[in-house]
């Protein structure tokens, strides 16, 4: 299907949500979803997912490991609205209520290759101390109406958040036809360098 004049470019993402660093919490699971612009459409793969619950290891690392695979392919005509992955982490609080432990989003890297991203996570804060207390008591912490909010800038000014741990993701990116459509994501210096390395003189008498 290699046409000289492609009408879309493809972005293939495979990777995984490797794990998280939440020093205070345990038994967490995470959800992910992708947020992308109008010109993007997933062609295959899962757009949303929910992971297993993981507990902390006994080792010294104290990290939560999910190793939750991501595998999705997007097609698009326009890099505007480049996909972002939104990760939200949930886990039980002291009373066993399932509460949100963090939201975070990051753009999918746009250069081909392997990338590791660590997203700092945050949760919305209660509006008042009393509410904080009651929400703690009732196990109903404030949550975003839609986790996808964290991937957009609009309306965020009305919220207050607190940072909370990190999630590490790993992506392997393959793109197709990006260059043919005029979007060059690899840096200019790299390309010639590799070519030079490739075109070594075959022989020298």
């Amino acid at each position: 299907m290699t046409s000289p004049n492609p009408s879309v470019f493809l972005l293939m993402i495979s990777g995984q949500i490797e794990g998280a660093q939440f020093p205070e919490y345990d038994d967490l699971y995470c959800k992910y979803c992708f947020v992308y612009g109008h010109d993007w459409a997933p062609t295959s793969g899962l757009e949303e997912g929910i992971s297993q619950i993981t507990s902390k290891g006994r080792g010294s690392t104290q990290s939560l490991v999910w190793n939750f695979p991501l595998d999705i392919t997007f097609k698009s005509t326009n890099p505007f609205g480049w996909p972002q992955i939104v990760v939200s982490v949930y886990g039980p609080d002291t009373f066993g209520n399932d509460v949100v432990r963090g939201y975070g989003a990051v753009h999918i890297p746009f250069t081909p290759g392997k990338h590791t991203r660590t997203i700092p996570m945050f949760v919305p804060e209660s509006t008042s101390r009393l509410q904080k207390f009651t929400s703690w008591l009732m196990g109903r912490r404030p949550e975003y109406t839609d986790p996808k909010v964290v991937a957009q800038g609009e309306g965020r000014e009305v919220t207050r958040v607190r940072s909370q741990g990190f999630v590490t993701l790993q992506f392997s990116i393959i793109t197709k036809d990006m260059k043919k459509l005029g979007y060059d994501t690899t840096s200019g210096e790299q390309a010639p360098a590799t070519r030079l390395a490739g075109t070594e003189q075959p022989y020298r008498s």
């Binding site: 879309v8 459409a41 008591l137 109903r140 975003y144 109406t145 919220t159």
Partner: protein
């Protein structure tokens, strides 16, 4: 045969093996021969010894046995084991008895070995002797031992070839065992020789078996070591520290008693907490490690530990206060971003090997010259010290002496010169010289001043000292250690006098000479001037004479001339007459000199006074001077430290040192600053502190040292500092304020804190004596030079554009034109000087913008793709959710924009084609415009978010927290479960086919029954008035038809057909007028354009049509009856309900019994009434007329309805009112969440308006009132009908995603479209103007959901009016669609329903009862008197009748449509019938659509006796033609497929004022019966 032989032999061998075993057992058991037994026992011993090393450690046993230094690892070899296991595979011997089997094996093997040996030697049998010898020889262990020892020695000698050794060992061992075995074998063989000679023959075979390669498997019991033994062994390796405390004696050196520092009064910090058991373990462990274990213990016998480093108090201040606000100190302060000055000031070469630069700042100490804590004595003392310092420094310089010497020298030279030339022949040069020297002599004056200064200094020293002394006497104590001694140096009076006299004389002489010279000079001057004056006088005189003469000569001279002369005279101004200089006063001079000498020099003969200041005076101790104590205490509290700031950043600070009594502080600290930035400034800040707080006292800037200033070679500088703070004390300290030192308050001095800081800043010297200074010398003049070289740094970036400045800079910095680095600049300069480049004299922002434009604007306009993207981002409705804009231009067709462009164009041009009515077209346009403007406003507000839009947060329970705590204890599975909401699906991940519409048709009531078309019906009933309807049970229709039907013939066979989005589904056919279907129909739903966003779903205008049909079976051909029966199914429409999808979507479910929209006349059908047959419920039901259907409609999965848009529109209401509204609504919502409560609404301009402003009596059209002048009831019904005829248009459709918009009545009448509330408001206003008591009901109804009805009070009864259908219900009507009453509104107030029930049947409408109704305006918040937004009067336009007639064209359109819907059948029109029907329609209109059926039917019957007619009139308000077509289509009349069917269609449009049109469509199908 060889093989056979072998096999045989092997078998024999096995047998023999068994035998051998037996033999040994026999042997051991028997023991008859004493020699044999001895041997046996010996053997057993050996075997035991042998066995041990095999099973345990051979080494151990060997060591025991032979005390040799064998290494255990060497003793066990594979070969060894091999010998053991050789026959394990072959033999099936029992190994359970280890010893015996082993013995047997060994024996056997030895036998074999022996055999081999025998074979090898080819000697056959050894002789008895030989054997015996062998045996005896071997039995001697000594040689072996010696050899072993040898070997051990050898081993010690050479340890490097251990492997060989090992092998050797093995061999040795092998040999040994071999030998032993051989011995045994010998025995054995002997025995065998004696007993069983058969074995012999099998020697060769044994050999073969011995060589077999299969035997490498060892079968062995699992090792087990007994517990105790294991413990023993482990004890050697493991150490388990006990948790018991260690006695102190173990931890300390012998004979040392533990020493407790704490008890001795020394401070011992608190140890960090460690569990005692852990500590004990650790101590035990340490002690176990022999040797230096004790060094870990302190004198007190405890483990050494540092004090607990953890602070008890938190070092972070609390972030929050109770007031919800951050501590002001912690609040974020916005500062404008500043570009760091130091970004580009890193020292070049940092990070290189020599790149670390170090600056040493040595702060040695400081001395206060004044400090607020100085006592007066201190002040004086300081002054004294200062003066003394000055004195010393003057003394050191000794200027006076120097100048005196110089003066003397000069005088001498002059004298010499004069003497030399002694008057005559003084050359010009020497004269010149003398003059110069004389000039020099003015050093005298310098000397004089210096001398004077010395003198005054001395005087003031003495004066201050005197003051100090007197002060000390006054106070009676001494604070300062200063003591001034004045040494007198006695001088010989005569000599001194002489010298002085000589000096004076010399001076006088000089002065005389000078003054004489001066006099002469002045005299000369005078003479010269005098001459000039004289000559001028002469001229004057002559001139005057001439004038006189002239005057005398000609008196009549012109005046002008005279004037000229006058001017002439005046020009020659009279010069001042010079005065002769005075003769210098020689005597006076001398007098002067003497006076001066007396003043500035000591008197002749007076001793030279040399002051000497010492600090030896003892300071009075505190006890002696009570006045001083507080001051001294204060001083001792003070402490000082110095902060070192590098480039305005604090890098370090000194320790805090307390202030001494002498106000000196010694720091003596050196700070080594490793620097990466260029040093810009080095500052030292002196801080003074009392106890913990400290304040900045002064700041001293230290110059950045030159790179040649290195540590070690620089003396420390004294930098003065001072502070302008004002300090006062109430003790003896003088403070830093104006202070008077005399008792009378005069002589005020202002003393400011000041002092000297001695410090030294220098570059450090590295290890190799390399100065760690930046290489400034490379760049010429260091930093400055660097700046000079960098053009931007020198003239600034903006200067680069300025050619002149650049040129100037280039000239100044003397750029090397040959340097390639400067080539570009030089070129630029050459161009600039050539004048070719003229700098523009305008300023330009973003001068690089053009570079960044990736397209020109025109291209951007032309590109379809960019246009598409732009329109999408503007959220134009056509493109709002446009997905995947193609990547390339060519893939976008122009068609995409067609619709949009057309819409833009349509803005001006009104398309009258689609709308028959021009007015309506205009209205539609207007509506569209309003809609757009509202949407735009809404879009803006949509992008304003509040917290609740983004964050879901539980609300704080308002009542008591405890109640919610009870909720926690609620059972998880209550016995009486409450209905839970289904999970709602956000409508974004949906696609076509995911959503289904579930329609559950349960049952129907009162469906009209067929009438036999042969017989005329009984009495008919005229139109009833609405009062009648409710006063008594209607008995209008009697159940008389039932008997008319033949037995078994069903009265009616109804089924329900549901159509939605052109999907048709129907239920099975039931029978009877009250059928029960209970069927669920599933209809697929697809959103427009596959867009399942909330806003798009709200905009779905599709309606669900639910129609009841009667299924009629007709025999097709009666002639063929008998053989086969052909029946044709015909269906007749009986009535329908339409429910807009938006209602279902917003409500999420619709449940209830609905009245079917039945036509007023159903030809061929009549209502059957069963009276009293069922009683109860039916009795009530029969009160109301009509056909009913019980339905349940919902969407699967449940969609999240569009969020109710928060009304954040601007308003003109008073803030207080809005606040009250908010509270009222919130309160209502909390107490009765299911009762709608509305106090403010949004008008069509998007502004919030209080609801009562909409209610105002407004007169209905006069012609409606005039129609029934004496029947108010009729008039009322007409008015209601008029209102209901205004087309209905739900807001959710017209204003997608926006709240309800309320339009005023005039707007409503102009728009001719609105939803419930507009109808209700209009109706309410009409009722009010008609003198009724009317209210607006805000409530929920089915199927509309939240809606508005009108309540009227008539003759103690309440009537509920549905304004959009014109129906009315009594309060107790079961089928009243109004389900919940939320609040009542009239022009004055809003009442919220606080009764237990909200259904109209079970509640009271008496708003005066505060128990039932909560008023908005009450005594606490009275009605402020709100003006109405409604117009005072409504203007109605008379509708043109002719115009209405024109609209009859609809008929034509409908006919065409019906023909279109029947593409495969001919459609015939019965004109006769049509014309008859057409006559009926106006009558129907007149009667309001009520009971005209009977006469009508009769009339038709007579006309069309031959036809079976089924048909009905449809009544619709007119808005557009499309709904009419849709309604006709839904009846399915066109579906009749009988071959001889004929149709009749008539349309009547009745005009009402203001273009309100009532449309009647009569449609009928006729089948000829004969």
């Amino acid at each position: 045969d060889l093989r056979d032989k072998l096999r045989k032999k092997r078998r024999a061998l096995q047998e023999s093996l068994g035998k051998v075993k037996d033999d040994t057992q026999k042997l051991t058991g028997r023991g008859d021969d004493p020699g044999e037994t001895l041997r046996r026992s010996l053997k057993a011993q050996r075997m035991k010894k042998k066995k041990k090393p095999v099973h345990q450690s051979k080494a151990a046993s060997l060591l025991q046995q032979e005390a040799s230094l064998e290494q255990p690892s060497h003793l066990r070899g594979p070969r060894d084991r091999e010998t053991l296991t050789r026959f394990d595979r072959e033999t099936d011997l029992d190994v359970h008895e280890e010893e015996s089997s082993f013995a047997a094996r060994v024996k056997f093997r030895d036998a074999a070995r022996k055999a081999t040996r025998d074979k090898r030697t080819e000697t056959g049998l050894p002789t008895e002797e030989e054997a015996y010898k062998f045996f005896t020889f071997n039995f001697d262990p000594e040689p072996q031992e010696s050899r072993r020892k040898d070997r051990a020695k050898k081993k010690t000698r050479s340890t490097d070839d251990e492997e060989n050794e090992g092998e050797e060992d093995e061999e040795e061992e092998e040999e040994e065992t071999g030998r032993a075995r051989a011995r045994e074998g010998e025995d054995e063989s002997r025995e065998r020789d004696e007993d069983a000679p058969l074995v012999r023959d099998e020697e060769e075979d044994l050999f073969i078996i011995d060589q077999s390669a299969k035997d490498f498997l060892e079968l062995k019991k699992a090792d087990y070591i007994g517990y105790n033994r294991r413990v023993l062994r482990e004890r050697e390796i493991f150490f388990t520290p006990s948790t018991r405390p260690v006695p102190a004696s173990c931890k300390l050196p012998e004979n040392v008693q533990p020493r407790y520092l704490e008890d001795e009064g020394l401070y011992v910090g608190e140890r960090p907490p460690v569990a005692l058991s852990n500590q004990n373990i650790l101590e035990n462990r340490i002690l176990k490690e022999d040797g230096q274990g004790k060094k870990w213990f302190g004198d007190d016998g405890r483990i050494l530990a540092l004090p607990d480093p953890i602070k008890e108090s938190s070092s972070r201040p609390p972030l929050y206060h109770l007031e919800e606000e951050l501590d002001p100190a912690l609040q974020t302060v916005y500062r404008k971003p500043l570009k760091s000055k130091y970004v580009n000031r890193y020292i070049a070469g940092v990070g290189d090997t020599q790149g670390d630069y170090q600056l040493d700042v040595d702060v040695s100490g400081l001395i206060f010259s004044h400090h607020p804590l100085f006592s007066k004595e201190h002040v004086l003392g300081a002054r004294l010290a200062q003066l003394y310092d000055q004195y010393l420094s003057r003394q050191h310089k000794n200027l006076t002496c120097l100048l005196t010497d110089k003066l003397n020298g000069l005088r001498n030279t002059i004298r010499n010169m004069l003497e030399l030339h002694s008057g005559e022949g003084i050359s010009h040069v020497t004269q010149q010289r003398i003059a110069e020297y004389k000039q020099e002599v003015h050093t005298r004056q310098l000397r004089d001043t210096e001398q004077e200064k010395d003198r005054t200094l001395l005087k003031s020293i003495i004066k201050v000292w005197k003051e100090l002394k007197s002060l000390r006497e006054d106070k009676g104590c001494t604070n300062t250690p200063y003591k001034l001694y004045i040494r007198r140096e006695e001088i010989q009076r005569a000599l001194d006098e002489q010298e002085q006299e000589a000096e004076i004389l010399a001076e006088v002489a000089e002065l005389q000479a000078e003054s004489e010279e001066d006099y002469e000079r002045k005299l000369n001057e005078y003479k010269r001037k005098h001459e000039g004056w004289k000559s001028w006088k002469k001229k004057q005189k002559t001139l005057k004479k001439k004038q006189k003469q002239r005057r005398q000569q000609s008196q009549d001279v012109d005046e002008e001339e005279e004037e000229d002369e006058h001017s002439e005279e005046e020009l020659g101004e009279e010069p001042v007459k010079p005065e002769a200089p005075e003769k210098p006063d020689i005597a006076g001079l001398e007098q002067q000199v003497r006076e001066k000498a007396a003043k500035i020099r000591r008197k002749p003969g007076e001793p030279v006074l040399v002051p000497e200041l010492t600090a030896s005076n003892p300071i009075t101790p505190n006890e002696a001077c009570p006045g001083e104590i507080s001051r001294r205490e204060d001083v001792s509290k003070r402490s000082l430290f110095v902060k070192v700031l590098y480039n305005d950043k604090e890098v370090s600070r000194t320790d805090s040192r307390s202030l001494n009594m002498d106000f000196r502080v010694h720091f003596g600290q050196i700070f080594n600053l490793k620097i990466v930035n260029w040093p810009e400034s080095i500052k030292l800040q002196i801080y003074e502190g009392v106890s913990s707080s400290s304040s900045l006292l002064a700041e001293v800037c230290v110059p950045v040292p030159e790179s040649s200033v290195l540590t070690g070679s620089t003396p420390s500088e004294e930098l003065e500092f001072s502070s302008n703070q004002r300090v006062t004390f109430n003790h003896e300290g003088v403070g830093s304020v104006p202070v008077s030192f005399t008792n009378d308050g005069s002589n005020i001095q202002t003393l400011l804190t000041s002092g000297k800081l001695s410090c030294c800043v220098s570059w450090a010297v590295g290890e190799d004596d390399i100065p760690l200074a930046p290489p400034s010398t490379q760049h010429g003049a260091g930093m400055h030079g660097l700046r000079q070289m960098d053009a931007i740094a020198c003239i600034g970036a903006s200067g680069l554009n300025d050619m002149k400045r650049l040129g100037k800079w280039a000239a100044e910095s003397r750029l090397d034109p040959n340097d390639p680095n400067n080539a570009s600049i030089m070129q630029l300069l050459s161009v600039a000087s050539g004048g070719e480049v003229v700098a523009p004299d305008y300023f330009r922002l973003e001068q690089l913008q053009e570079e960044f434009n990736f397209l020109s604007d025109e291209e951007l306009e032309r590109s379809r793709r960019f246009r598409l993207i732009r329109l999408r981002s503007q959220e134009e409705p056509e493109f709002r959710n446009f997905k995947t804009i193609p990547a390339t231009e060519r893939e976008i067709s122009e068609k995409v924009f067609e619709e949009y462009d057309r819409r833009l164009k349509e803005g001006e041009v009104i398309d009258t084609k689609e709308h028959i009515d021009a007015h309506r077209a205009l209205v539609a346009k207007y509506l569209q415009k309003v809609r757009e403007s509202v949407i735009n406003r809404f879009l803006i507000s949509k992008h304003h978010y509040i917290l609740s839009d983004l964050v879901v947060e539980e609300e704080v329970p308002s009542i008591v927290l405890g109640l919610n705590l009870f909720k926690l204890a609620e059972p998880k599975r209550p016995l009486k479960p409450r209905r839970k909401e289904r999970k709602k699906v956000t409508a974004q991940n949906l696609s076509d086919g995911d959503i289904k519409l579930l329609v559950n048709i349960i049952r129907g009531y009162d469906i009209p029954i067929r009438k036999p078309h042969t017989k005329p019906a009984a009495g008919s009933k005229g139109a009833r008035s609405y009062t009648e309807t409710f006063t008594a049970a209607s008995t209008s229709q009697t159940a008389l038809q039932a008997s008319e039907w033949p037995l078994g013939q069903p009265v009616i066979r109804p089924f329900v057909e549901v159509s939605f989005q052109r999907t048709l589904l129907q239920t099975s056919t039931a029978e009877g007028p009250n059928p029960c279907w209970n069927e669920e129909l599933v209809l697929p739903f697809s959103a427009p354009n596959g867009d399942y966003s909330t806003s798009s779903l709200q905009a779905v205008r599709d309606e669900v049509f639910i129609s009841i049909f009667d299924e009629v079976l007709h025999d097709v051909d009666e002639r063929e009856r008998g053989s086969s029966v052909h029946t044709r199914i015909e269906r007749h429409w009986l009535g329908s309900i339409k429910i807009p999808f938006s209602t279902i979507y917003m409500q999420s479910r619709i449940d209830g019994t609905f009245k079917l929209g039945t036509p007023p006349v159903l030809l061929g059908y009549s209502k059957e009434r069963s009276l009293g047959s069922e009683g109860g419920y039916d009795a009530i039901r029969s009160l109301s007329e009509g056909t009913f259907l019980t339905l349940f409609i919902t969407i699967e999965p449940q969609l999240v309805p569009g969020d109710s848009i928060r009304e954040k529109f601007d308003t003109q209401e008073v803030e207080r009112l809005l606040l009250a509204c908010e509270i009222f609504e919130k309160d209502a919502g909390q107490r009765y969440p299911d009762r709608p409560c509305v106090t403010t609404v949004v008008d069509i301009n998007g502004k919030t308006v209080f609801i009562t402003r909409f209610i105002r009596p407004l007169p209905p059209p006069q012609e409606l009132l005039d129609a029934f002048p004496n029947n108010s009831q009729e008039a009322t019904e007409l008015v209601v009908r008029y209102v209901s005829l205004i087309p209905f248009l739900p807001d959710s459709v017209s204003f997608v995603g926006i709240c309800d918009l309320w339009s005023t009545c005039d707007q409503f009448l102009t728009l001719l479209a609105g939803d419930e509330e507009e109808h209700a408001v209009l109706l309410c206003n009409y009722f009010l103007s008609m003198g009724k008591k009317a209210w607006l009901i805000i409530g929920t109804a089915i199927p509309e959901g939240p809606t508005a009805y009108v309540l009227t009070q008539e003759q103690n009864r309440y009537l509920i009016w549905n304004p959009s259908t014109g129906q009315y219900y009594g309060q107790h009507d079961t089928f009243c669609p109004l389900q919940t009453v939320g609040c009542l509104v009239n022009a004055d107030n809003v009442w919220f329903n606080i009764q237990l029930y909200a259904t109209p049947i079970r509640m009271s409408f008496d708003v005066t009862k505060p128990k039932f109704w909560k008023p908005f305006f009450s005594r606490s918040f009275p009605d402020p008197g709100l003006s109405s937004v409604q117009p005072e009067d409504l203007v109605y336009r008379r509708t043109d009748k002719a115009y209405a007639a024109e609209l009859q064209d609809i008929e034509k359109i409908l006919r065409e449509k019906i023909m279109e819907w029947r593409p495969r059948h001919p459609t015939r029109w019965n004109r006769y019938c049509t014309s008859t029907l057409r006559q009926f329609l106006p009558k129907l209109e007149m009667s309001g659509g009520r009971e005209v059926a009977e006469e009508h039917r009769l009339e038709l019957q007579s006309l069309l006796g031959d036809y079976r007619i089924s048909g009905f009139p449809l009544h619709l308000p007119f808005s557009e033609i499309r709904p009419i077509i849709e309604a006709v289509y839904s009846t399915g009349v066109h579906n009749v497929e009988a071959p001889n069917v004929e149709f009749a269609l008539a349309v009547y449009v009745h005009p009402y004022p203001s273009n309100v049109l009532s449309v009647w469509v009569y449609i009928a199908s006729l089948v000829r019966t004969r």
